[in-house]
């Protein structure tokens, strides 16, 4: 059971990073909305994972992305921020004693919970990402707009992907 979860997550890591680097790196609307769908991997890590492991995985994933994007540290910091929001949100909203479900997916947790969870995590990630990337006070309004548009785009894609797999599991 446990080894199956690990295997699924490793597979998910490779697939999502492959899509991100191959496909989505070249995609943008008017240079305003650029999706970063790989965060879905961090969103879907199992509930019981210790915090230290969560942070290490997030940091490693961020560094891998950084190597391909030539932005050392930016994605790593953003992923760590996402993990902090994730841990806080889960500790507030989910009963700590009994996790009935192994993973926080849309199918397991319901649309309402998952959409809010994804929204908060994605926006914290994008805020850190774009602010660190531009690092110029003069561009702040543009950076925030970019963060907003990209966040909405990523969120939409994440929800879409989740619905795709949600149906498959029901069968």
């Amino acid at each position: 059971m446990n080894s199956r979860l690990v295997l699924i997550n490793i597979l998910r890591w490779f697939i999502l990073l492959f899509i991100q680097i191959l496909l989505l790196r070249n995609l943008s609307f008017y240079n305003l909305a650029t999706p970063f769908v790989y965060v879905l991997f961090l969103l879907l890590l199992p509930f019981g994972t210790p915090n230290l492991i969560l942070y290490l995985i997030a940091f490693g994933t961020g560094l891998t992305l950084d190597a391909f994007y030539d932005t050392l540290g930016v994605h790593a910091a953003a992923c760590v921020a996402l993990t902090f929001v994730r841990i806080t949100f889960i500790s507030i909203s989910v009963n700590r004693d009994g996790f009935d479900e192994p993973e926080p997916t849309l199918g397991n947790m319901g649309f309402k919970w998952f959409s809010l969870y994804a929204l908060l995590c994605i926006f914290s990630h994008h805020l850190i990402l774009f602010v660190l990337e531009s690092f110029k006070p003069a561009e702040l309004s543009y950076t925030l707009l970019r963060c907003l548009m990209s966040g909405a785009f990523t969120w939409l894609l994440v929800i879409l992907i989740e619905f795709l797999f949600y149906n498959r599991r029901q069968r």
């Binding site: 240079n31 940091f59 560094l63 190597a67 540290g73 910091a77 774009f130 531009s134």
Partner: protein, 278 residues
């Protein structure tokens, strides 16, 4: 002591966040600094190899376009050659070997990774220090226009800090009156076909459609066409004009670039480092 440990353990999510986030920020700031020691970027063996493999497929997509541009360039060079052949050399009595005085040499390289969607875009090429590429060399496009500067070099690969990067500044001239300005990208418009020229003094008259060329001050050879003015005179409230231009170079279809070796670059750097300030 025990209470402290319990306290830290209770809020371990927060403390771990602080630790990892700080590491991330330190890496970011260090990466922005002039000296970069860590090579976790696309000049890295593994990452570079991956991009090289992916590029094999992508190259076929733009093959027609690249062919056209190469044919155009050939035609241009051929016509220049014809011009030289027609010079009546009988009149020249003394021949000076000018080959040793050639300041700039070009080196062709293939783009294996490119991006235009980010705030700070970096291009990776398939030539490195073994081919004689060094940091801060200028890079231009085969068609027309500038690309950027060499940023990091490994044995077989190099990254270019593209013009589409917040730290890139290139010294340029308005061709007709030699007004000096500096070429930057971004701040308001993040379209990869547009850029801005700042710090042109107010008394120069710049019209729509004027050609902008490199000035030769920032390691580019002088006179390389950069773009055409699309909006002259954006009011900034001080004594300088800000001009919007359309770039000649199309960053989205970049396949080959020329790296420019400047024979006197090191000599110039050594000489200028003797200046007291700056």
């Amino acid at each position: 002591m025990r209470n402290l440990w319990i306290f830290i353990n209770r809020y371990n999510a927060f403390f771990l966040f602080i630790i990892f986030f700080t590491i991330g920020i330190v890496l970011t700031v260090k990466n922005n600094a002039y000296q970069r020691s860590v090579t976790l970027n696309s000049t890295n063996e593994v990452v570079g190899q991956a991009y090289e493999k992916l590029n094999v497929f992508k190259r076929y997509m733009n093959l027609g376009q690249v062919n056209d541009s190469l044919a155009n360039e050939n035609a241009k060079l051929y016509s220049q050659l014809l011009k030289m052949k027609n010079i009546d050399s009988a009149k020249n009595t003394t021949v000076k070997d000018t080959a040793t005085h050639q300041q700039y040499t070009y080196l062709a390289a293939r783009v294996i990774k490119n991006s235009i969607t980010l705030r700070n875009n970096v291009i990776t090429i398939n030539k490195g220090s073994l081919d004689g590429i060094k940091k801060d060399m200028a890079v231009i496009s085969p068609q027309k226009g500038v690309v950027g500067f060499i940023r990091d070099v490994s044995d077989h690969l190099a990254t270019i800090q593209s013009l589409l990067h917040k730290d890139t500044k290139i010294s340029v001239n308005v061709k007709k009156n030699n007004a000096l300005g500096s070429l930057v990208w971004g701040e308001k418009n993040f379209n990869y076909q547009k850029a801005y020229i700042k710090d042109i003094p107010n008394h120069f008259k710049v019209n729509l459609g004027d050609t902008i060329v490199t000035s030769g001050f920032s390691s580019f050879p002088p006179g390389i066409p950069v773009g055409r003015v699309s909006n002259a005179g954006i009011a900034t409230g001080d004594n300088f004009l800000t001009i919007e231009i359309n770039l000649f170079n199309d960053f989205s279809t970049l396949q080959y670039v020329y790296v420019i070796k400047d024979k006197f670059a090191e000599e110039q750097k050594a000489l200028e480092s003797k200046l007291p300030n700056e």
